[in-house]
């Protein structure tokens, strides 16, 4: 069973980090896009949505080009002593990138659903824009953002292609659950593969059920 717990723990660690990072980046991007009045808005939104439609191997290739030892940022990181390729941190970056649009899209929709009049009311009551964000916009969008974050968590947990490209398949170090399933099937270890498939499926169904229960925000109803 140790064959299952080690990759499961690593997958959970990677997915939790990726979700936490996306809660900051995705919420900021979603809020920015919801308030930005510019024709370029939908273009930027489309570019930010690319990770949802591009094959994960393509994303992994981009990451290698950028972050590999001879890559644009990679050579600079190398001089700083930071190594991302073949590390679990690399897997976090891959999962973060792949799951980003799920949080960004949910956050944008949630912020767009906040009645602008409530923000005006807060403005007249003396609040600065940052305080309005934390006291009005964010709490009212929290439900939708949480739903997006749960989807992102499930997506990050199942990440395979981009993770394999940048973090590789090092058992105990970068071998996440989905990569371990592939390795187990390749090695003919069907029993281990079946257990890991079951664990992944149950976790993802639970995350999706929770996400569905949280969104959409029932209109006009107060929350307790």
């Amino acid at each position: 069973m140790a064959d299952v717990w080690v990759p499961l723990a690593l997958s959970l660690k990677v997915a939790l980090w990726a979700t936490a990072i996306n809660l900051v980046l995705g919420v900021l991007a979603g809020f920015g896009l919801s308030r930005w009045r510019s024709p370029a808005r939908e273009v930027v939104d489309s570019i930010l949505t690319l990770p949802l439609v591009l094959p994960p191997t393509v994303l992994g290739y981009y990451l290698l080009v950028l972050l590999g030892r001879r890559g644009v940022f990679g050579s600079w990181l190398d001089r700083m002593g930071i190594e991302l390729v073949f590390t679990w941190q690399g897997a976090v970056i891959a999962s973060t990138l792949v799951a980003f649009p799920l949080v960004q899209k949910a956050a944008r929709a949630a912020f767009e659903a906040v009645d602008p009049q409530l923000e005006s009311a807060a403005r007249v009551l003396g609040l600065r824009e940052a305080a309005i964000f934390f006291r009005v916009s964010l709490p009212l969008a929290a439900r939708g953002i949480t739903a997006g974050a749960l989807l992102a968590f499930a997506r990050a947990l199942g990440e395979f292609g981009a993770t394999l490209m940048i973090a590789g398949n090092l058992p105990g170090r970068t071998q996440t659950l989905s990569v371990a399933i592939y390795a187990a099937v390749q090695a003919g270890d069907d029993r281990t593969a079946a257990i890991m498939v079951g664990v992944t499926s149950v976790t993802c169904v639970a995350a999706l059920l929770l996400a569905g229960w949280l969104s959409p925000n029932p209109p006009g109803r107060g929350r307790r």
Binding site: D115, Q117, L118, S120, A121, A122, R123, V124, L125, G126, L127, R128, A130, A131, F134, R135, V136, P139, L140, G220, R221, G222, R223, R224
Partner: protein, 223 residues
Amino acid sequence: MSVDIAIRAMLQGDDRRFALDVSIVSSERRIVIFGPSGAGKSLTLRAVAGLLTPDAGHVHVDGRVLYDAAAGVDMPARKRDVAYVFQDYALFPHLTVAQNVGFGLAHGWLNPGRRARDARVSRWIDTLELGDIADSFPARISGGQRQRVALARALAAEPRIVLLDEPFAALDPGLRGRMRAELMALQERLDLQLMVITHDPADVEALDGHTFEIREGRVVAAP
């Protein structure tokens, strides 16, 4: 003059252009702006509150310059000491009545707590008889109670002027008369400076203030 407003603005909507050119000068404590919907009443109120920046003119309240195009003054809404009671009250749905009332008393990044209650919040809750529903959420209270909460929230910040946008339109007719009387009693007791916009002649009669009639962005009649 306690209120001296002259604003000009050209607004571009989706399908039409709207020219606003309104002057209101009054030293009375109750100012009523009367006119049909789409006449520019709300725009005028938003310009006074700082939620809309006119192209030209000035907004003076109690001798304070809130906006003056010629002098380059445009005070942000949060510094104007103006209270705004929105037509549908714009209560924060995620906060209790007491938290709503206390919202403007602290300007930090956190909402007032549910338990700790500022003495000023308690005073306004008592004044507007909201004690029974102080811990309720806005979705669970009646229309008349919502209006009282909106008033309490507006007054707690001790504004120099209270702007009311169609304050009785969202209420059913039976309640309307009672709330009009309540607002008048409160205005007299606290000597509030009010500026009320309405399309309803019955409001004009009940409020008995200095009335300006607006049509198509202009003042057409002032007694």
